[in-house]
């Protein structure tokens, strides 16, 4: 955890308030407003549909970009080789980096909900609030797992931020954030089941509408399973790229 915190302070670009406020608070807020108004303009969903979808989705900004920075920036800054030369437990290094990112994602989503309540009149069902927070934590964790996989790819690929950017915008379309899943083609709907956000957002929408129950809990558990699967895949990818990088000397090639 200490290693994760230090790496977060060193590698998370947007940690200073001058970066954090415009990037992690203002930009997500404008994203929520933009899609709420687009939704009103097309008449496709209620304000709550877009507030919940976007407020939960913005936690992926920390998960996707933050984890990409936390892993692949070690290579950019040429500190990866010394870290991998240490006998430290790789799983501890890997998971330690996820915790600060998860907390940042959770904060961003809470900020999104709070501001939406203030300026857009968003009112989630009070009885569902505790479970809604659980759904947010689980979704932030699952986005962190997904981000870990992208970060691991950065051990091999030179411009991993290009992939992270595409991933960040693609989930807006694929995971039912802006377009109801029922409107998407069947193959995209199948793909969405295995991506983070899809089930977390579905649970969030049910809970915000006061229709929690077994379906919402099942969605949260499904989101958790997706996150664990991505984190496990990311760890395997990390170890694979570590081994092949040692062999080929790829860590020092920028």
């Amino acid at each position: 955890m200490i290693g994760g915190l230090i790496s977060y302070r060193a590698l998370f670009y947007w940690i200073s308030p001058w970066q954090y406020v415009p990037t992690m608070l203002a930009a997500p807020l404008f994203q929520i407003l933009f899609f709420v108004y687009l939704g009103r303009s097309t008449g496709v969903g209620s304000t709550s549909f877009f507030v919940v979808g976007n407020s939960i989705q913005i936690c992926s900004m920390a998960g996707i970009y933050g984890m990409t920075m936390a892993i692949s920036n070690e290579r950019q800054f040429q500190t990866l080789s010394p870290i991998l030369a240490t006998p430290s437990n790789r799983l501890a290094i890997f998971l330690g980096r996820g915790l600060p990112v998860l907390i940042t994602g959770f904060q961003t989503t809470c900020f999104g909900f709070l501001v939406s309540a203030l300026i857009l009149g968003f009112r989630p069902a009070p009885a569902s609030l505790p479970l809604l927070l659980v759904a947010v934590v689980v979704t932030a964790a699952s986005c962190t797992g997904f981000g870990m996989a992208l970060g691991s790819v950065g051990l091999r690929v030179r411009d991993v931020f290009l992939i992270s950017n595409i991933a960040y915008f693609a989930v807006l379309l694929v995971c039912g954030v802006e377009v109801p899943l029922s409107q998407l083609p069947g193959s995209v709907r199948v793909l969405a089941q295995f991506l983070p956000l899809t089930h977390g957002i579905a649970a969030g929408r049910l809970l915000a509408a006061g229709r929690g129950g077994a379906t919402a809990i099942a969605d949260i558990l499904w989101e958790l399973a997706v996150g664990v699967a991505w984190a496990a895949f990311a760890y395997l990818l990390f170890r694979y790229f570590e081994r092949s990088g040692r062999r080929t000397g790829a860590f020092d090639r920028l």
Partner: protein, 269 residues
């Protein structure tokens, strides 16, 4: 130009034009090969166009698909301008090019203008991509009501956005974290300029903001030319905005240049 062995210097406006064109072309070639710019000008607008068109098809209110295709196209141009021009001076400084460029015997603002116009031109990719996407994926009938006016509107829009990029680049240089301002400025401008959401749905206090931003007039002109309407007044407003940005940009760049020379900070990060 030479006559009887005597070199006659080209008239100043021609030299300036040459600097502008060479800078524009060089920047266009460079940005057109940048993965980040291709993502910003192609992939991102296509994702937003798909979202808007899918919502349009699923929703209860219907505006033409072309309304969204054109709006998403200008969103792409705005993104390339925000990310490509916002840090234009800072980037030259970072690369150690600011001193040679300021010392060169041409107005520094022309060099920057070539860069910002070249960057905005790359954004035209997004316009072509979203129109093609609308036709192929959403089976939209893409027939331009007035192709000539459409072309004129597209050129004027790109020039005005490039000049707005010049204003941004010369003002963002005062702020060390210009990249984070760029991150923040995409959505609000997309929203208040009515690129995907009609201006009539937005609160009245946002309208004055829309009127001073060129994307508003650019998208109105393009929609009028494509869907049938009167594009010329909006093209005129876009040109007027361009002149205002040009004046402001020249003034700002001059101020930044003098200040950096006086404080000897041309090479400082």
């Amino acid at each position: 130009m030479s006559a009887a062995g005597v070199t006659v210097p080209a008239p100043q406006p021609l030299r300036w034009l040459r600097v502008l064109v060479v800078g524009w072309f060089y920047q266009l070639k460079m940005q057109a090969q940048s993965g980040f710019m291709i993502m910003t000008a192609l992939v991102q607008p296509l994702i937003f166009a798909t979202i808007a068109m899918a919502d349009q098809q699923a929703g209860s209110r219907s505006l033409p698909i072309l309304f969204y295709a054109l709006g998403a196209g200008i969103m792409g141009i705005w993104s390339t301008v925000v990310f490509g021009c916002g840090g234009v001076i800072s980037w030259q400084r970072h690369q150690g090019m600011l001193e040679p460029l300021v010392m060169a015997p041409v107005p520094f603002v022309l060099v920057l203008m070539g860069i910002t116009l070249g960057t905005a031109t790359v954004g035209l990719y997004s316009m072509g991509a979203t129109l093609l996407w609308a036709a192929v994926v959403f089976r939209a009938h893409v027939q331009l009501a007035d192709p000539l006016a459409f072309t004129l509107a597209a050129v004027v829009t790109v020039v005005s956005l490039g000049l707005l990029g010049l204003v941004m680049g010369s003002s963002f240089v005062l702020y060390r974290n210009s990249n984070s301002i760029s991150n923040m400025l995409e959505y609000p401008v997309w929203l208040v300029t009515g690129l995907l959401v009609p201006l009539s749905l937005l609160p009245g206090w946002t309208h004055p903001l829309a009127y001073v931003l060129a994307p508003t007039w650019g998208v109105l002109a393009l929609r009028a030319a494509a869907l049938g309407g009167q594009p010329l007044p909006d093209i005129g407003w876009c040109l007027l905005a361009s002149l205002a940005y040009l004046a402001l940009g020249v003034w700002l760049v001059g101020r930044v240049e003098v200040r950096a020379r006086r404080t000897a900070t041309l090479t400082f990060q």
